[in-house]
């Protein structure tokens, strides 16, 4: 016997949460582009998306976020913080790859120094993930050791029913359990079968790739130039990546008052690492692409024992010149054999 949440009850479900003062978020499609935002009710959601074009990370790490405001007077500087509210949130309808990405970045944002902006949002949020029963040409979670029903990073996992009329509900964390308690009356016991999960083919041998990447000999391999020759150095892959976390800190305002902000930044950009002197440690696009791959599949795992790629496939899906992690790792995988 398992618990089932029927689609028909979703309206009540959302209104119950909102009545309790919980903010509700979910996947929404607008002008051919999709992402997560706050929704008043379930009607705003687009439940047919395989994957939103923008990632879940926007809810924890907005593309631009005021951190501090300052005002400067005679002999005094006053600052105040824009710390995110602790109002509880439920994110309904995340995908396993996105949810896993949030768990990966927890490691980074808690690496000795704790980033309150990230963690305040993380700790107030319950991620209710829907397992994938469909995938597209770019999905590659299975190549990264995850899968269409991975639980990593989720608080509740929902498995679509074969009938399409709802989801089997699995609570994974205490937070998830709590979110379910308030809709306990909507969770029906049942024996319905879940729809089969999407079949996502394994595209490369991850271990072979990480072994190749770990070999210092390969750092200056010709491979990097060849694989990234057509890279135009935009930030699409990084900005649409659930785990890319690089940022810039910028002041906006004048020397009397203004705001210090945290803005997304990208290792694809030439100016990202440029010293004031003009020296640039990663002066070529191939060095920058190498950084991105090495960061995900070598450096990150050296520090945190996990690769920082979830196989969502967005980097390839959205690349203006059809590059991406997929092609690079497929190529490395072949090199290694």
């Amino acid at each position: 016997m398992t618990k089932i949440l029927y689609s028909d009850d979703l309206t009540t479900c959302f209104s119950t949460w909102r009545k309790e003062g919980i903010m509700t978020f979910g996947p929404v499609q607008e002008a051919g582009n999709s992402g997560f935002r706050e929704v008043q009710d379930e009607k705003e959601l687009d439940m047919n998306l395989i994957l939103t074009s923008r990632t879940l990370k926007e809810l924890f790490f907005p593309r631009t976020e005021p951190m501090l405001s300052y005002s400067i007077g005679k002999q005094q500087i006053e600052t105040s913080e824009f710390l995110p509210s602790e109002k509880p949130c439920i994110i309904f309808g995340a995908r396993p790859c996105d949810a896993a990405g949030m768990a990966m970045d927890d490691e980074l944002f808690n690496w000795d120094y704790r980033d309150e902006y990230w963690f305040r949002r993380r700790s107030r949020s319950v991620i209710m993930t829907i397992a994938c029963s469909t995938s597209d040409d770019f999905c590659m979670c299975t190549s990264l050791g995850l899968g269409p029903d991975s639980a990593k990073g989720s608080d509740v996992l929902l498995r679509p029913l074969a009938s399409g009329k709802g989801w089997l509900v699995e609570e994974l964390t205490e937070k998830g359990d709590k979110a379910l308690q308030s809709i306990a009356s909507l969770l029906k016991e049942g024996t319905e079968e879940a729809a089969p999960t999407a079949e996502v083919p394994v595209l490369f041998d991850l271990e072979a790739c990480t072994t190749w990447l770990a070999d210092p000999e390969n750092f200056e391999s010709h491979f990097w130039k060849e694989i990234s020759e057509r890279c135009i150095g935009c930030g699409t892959c990084t900005y649409l990546c659930p785990t890319c976390h690089c940022f810039d800190i910028q002041d906006e305002g004048d020397t009397y008052e203004g705001i210090r902000r945290k803005n997304w930044d990208s290792c694809s950009f030439q100016l990202f690492t440029m010293h004031t002197s003009g020296h640039n440690p990663r002066n070529t696009q191939s060095a920058r692409w190498r950084q991105r791959i090495m960061h995900k599949f070598n450096y990150f795992s050296l520090k945190f024992s996990v690769n920082s790629c979830t196989g969502c496939g967005r980097c390839t899906r959205e690349c203006p010149v059809d590059m991406g992690v997929r092609e690079t790792l497929q190529a490395i995988s072949t090199l290694q054999k």
Partner: protein, 288 residues
């Protein structure tokens, strides 16, 4: 790599406020600021954590933050001195700040020079141009407890006589008698009354020929100088493990999050900025 020391922080991006207690022009475009914390709690936190080698992010609201070393030693923790060259947006604003103005400071971050491991050893300091500040904090850390070390040699060079920084301190070191000071300027950079050497640091270093036995070398300078000086040190018989240097990369957060400063898998902000030459050799050269 020495361990990173983590100060207690609530919001890791919120800086402390410091007052400019004094400013000093060092060389054309180069300034030293002496800074004092406004809030005693910040001073206390700093004093509890600061060790020579750590760095900070110095800022002016409205312009941003800029990373450089703390140039004052761990033996003098009731103020911070920093020396910088006016070049970008933040340093330009810092350069136009005056005594009594308030600026911001985040840190201290990073690891340190393991000075207690240097006890009983001879010390060789080598610096080029604007890279004397990180070396200087080690120099003073040692001079303030002079009896714990053997012979101390300082080799310092700059492009021209005008570009030498800390001129007063150079005089002070020259006069102490317990420090051997070798000054040099690049060929063509000498003034008519220049009494010291003329030549590039690596060459001058080889001429001075300090003995590598029981000696620790601390080397800071622009990448090109480091490269050639390391070769000279090798020639003189120094082992890479006994040569310390600092790496300086562009940083925004200073705390391992923003993703810029890594050389290979090593985050300069978290695992540096102090490294032995051996550790630097192990990093991918193409990423430096």
């Amino acid at each position: 790599m020495t361990d990173t020391i983590i100060p207690a922080q609530n919001n890791i991006y919120r800086p402390a406020v410091m007052k400019i207690a004094a400013t000093r022009n060092e060389a054309p475009g180069v300034q030293t600021l002496r800074l004092e914390f406004q809030d005693p709690a910040d001073q206390e936190k700093f004093a509890a954590v600061y060790r020579t080698g750590m760095f900070g992010l110095y800022g002016i609201y409205g312009e941003g933050e800029s990373t450089f070393c703390v140039a004052s030693p761990e033996t003098r923790k009731d103020y911070i001195e920093c020396t910088f060259r006016q070049s970008g947006r933040v340093t330009t604003a810092l350069a136009s700040a005056e005594e009594g103005d308030l600026i911001t400071f985040r840190g201290p971050y990073g690891n340190r020079f393991p000075i207690e491991e240097f006890y009983g050893k001879n010390l060789l300091f080598i610096a080029g141009g604007i890279a004397l500040p990180p070396t200087r904090s080690v120099i003073w850390s040692c001079l303030d407890q002079r009896d714990k070390f053997g012979k101390i040699t300082i080799v310092y060079g700059a492009r021209t006589v005008a570009d030498l920084v800390y001129k007063q301190e150079l005089d002070e070191w020259a006069e102490r008698g317990d420090v051997e000071l070798v000054l040099t300027v690049d060929p063509g950079g000498e003034s008519p009354d220049w009494k010291h050497r003329v030549g590039f640091v690596p060459t001058v270093l080889e001429e001075a020929a300090p003995a590598p036995g029981n000696c620790i070398a601390v080397l800071c300078g622009p990448p090109i100088m480091i490269k050639f000086t390391l070769a000279s040190l090798k020639k003189l018989g120094f082992e890479e493990a006994n040569v310390y240097t600092t790496l300086e990369n562009r940083m925004k957060c200073g705390v391992g999050k923003c993703g810029r400063c890594n050389v290979g898998s090593v985050y300069v902000c978290k695992e540096g900025p102090v490294f032995t030459a051996e550790e630097v050799s192990a990093m991918p050269a193409a990423d430096l």
